[in-house]
């Protein structure tokens, strides 16, 4: 399942001419197949917006997004769903409160006309480390970590090649975050998935990502390999500043 991602000059602006508001001036980067790519930045930098554009949750952008060489705009809807999926930040908002896990997992299977619903659902729920009894639970009967696992199961049940992750662990406790990150690492190892992960936590980037882009005000300032974090190998001043602050925050224990 190879699916490299290429983003060319993605931009969002409202209005015309000189008065136009460029909400997202220009974003370009590419992700190799099977890579885990991080999108880092502060609030308002546009990183979540980029994910939503890739997923075609908003249509209001210009530019070109290619997945596996194919223009994401031209893909038929159902095919796009089997190519990319997304995991959202808030585990309490990403599952329908009135639907059981079984319903939530069966819906995509029904929409795409896949067979063996029960088998696929059981496998999906097992793969994320939950027992099959969870199929009959409702969201309010599960903890944040369990809901996030179900969200991951739902994303993977259609067997996509690309998984978009929007701060998947920032709303979870540290110990639960560790479990979910381990799960994501394992799934990627097993299935050769490509991840694009939005996060504000450079420690998570350092743990999981191969490369990452630093965003500021809707633009990519720099794309760096993971090794650039520890020694602060960034060149762009904003990226340098961001990494420096994170290193200080992480534990200037010596200064303490």
């Amino acid at each position: 399942m190879t699916s490299p991602v290429e983003i060319n000059d993605l931009s969002i602006s409202f209005g015309e001419g000189p008065a136009a508001v460029k909400v997202l001036p220009s974003v370009s980067f590419s992700v190799d197949a099977g890579e885990c790519f991080g999108l880092v930045g502060e609030s308002g930098s546009g990183k979540s917006t980029v994910l939503r554009c890739i997923a075609m949750l908003t249509d209001f952008w210009q530019g070109k997004i290619l997945i596996g060489g194919r223009d994401v705009r031209k893909l038929p809807r159902l095919e796009r769903c089997r190519l990319l999926q997304m995991v959202f930040q808030d585990p309490y908002g990403s599952l329908h409160p009135r639907q059981s896990v079984r319903t939530a997992l069966a819906e995509p299977l029904r929409i795409h006309g896949l067979d063996d619903h029960e088998g696929r659902m059981r496998r999906a729920i097992r793969d994320v480390g939950l027992s099959a009894d969870f199929l009959d639970r409702f969201p309010h009967q599960m903890s944040g970590g369990q809901r996030q696992r179900v969200a991951i199961a739902r994303a993977l049940i259609l067997e996509p090649a690309l998984l978009l992750l929007d701060e998947p662990t920032s709303a979870l406790d540290v110990s639960v975050q560790a479990e979910i990150l381990n799960l994501l690492v394992r799934l990627r190892d097993e299935r050769g998935l490509t991840y694009i992960m939005v996060t504000h936590d450079l420690a998570v980037v350092d743990h999981m990502c191969d490369r990452f882009a630093v965003m500021l005000h809707g633009e990519v300032t720099e794309v760096l390999p993971r090794s650039a974090i520890l020694g602060n190998g960034a060149t762009h001043p904003y990226a340098r500043n961001l990494i420096q602050t994170s290193l200080e925050y992480e534990g200037a224990l010596e200064a303490g």
Partner: protein
Amino acid sequence: MTVKDTDMPRVSSGMPTSLIAMRNILAYLMRSPTSAFGVIALGLLILIAAFAPLIATHDPYAQDLVNTLQPPSAAHFFGTDELGRDIFSRLVWGSRISLTIIFLVSIIVGPLGMIVGTTAGYMGGRLDTVMMRVTDIFLSFPSLILSLAFVAALGPSLNNAIIAIALTAWPPIARLARAETMTLRQADYIAAARLQGASSLRIIVKSIAPMCLPSVLIRLTLNMATVILTAAGLGFLGLGAQPPLPEWGAMIATGRRYMIDSWWLVTFPGLAILTVSLAFNLLGDGLRDALDPKQMNRR
């Protein structure tokens, strides 16, 4: 490491969840005296309507011109009207008419309002604008006036009155459903559904409508009080149920002439209308608390 199901509290199996929910809501309602009154009053209404032939003491249409305008007595619990008909029996049989009105109006107004509201709210854009302007047109008519016009055009009858009432009762439901939908469509689970390839119709029907249902139900319940009163008003004006149907509003209309000397002609139908309206209001209030998502844990 597999997370075991035993790590969480046991889920009771056996009854389908919707029945469990209804039983819990009912238990919650019975705990407060006001909503309990509402539940009991409406329960009684339904029972009386169902067993009307057994409860009524006389034939509601049977005239007894010898015994007109009799005060309440052992023979006639609520007295007789100007044609000697037993008022108690007419009230009992009239409950069927009231229930029919409530039922039919709900059946029309609920789905219509939901469909218009959720579609307009979810699709947005021009469709939303058009639908909302149509809603505004219906909303701008005072309900009684529109009912009058409608009935005047089509002729007075109970069915026409029901349609007329329904025509003015649906816009608030549509507005409500639209407002809820516009909030709900921002949710991540809707985005997830879109990502799975669900069509707009599927999302509206399966994901959005169930979430709007509690508010709509509460609003419908509260509306019922107004519906009863409007139907009574139309009956009073002679535009709804036609004589000799024992509709409560019509009974007040004809009884008005004899009101001074024969108070029982208007009092008992009036009390019946009051009780049912009040019961719906209290039930609606109770439902609002019961269906509040924050109360879910207490249920």
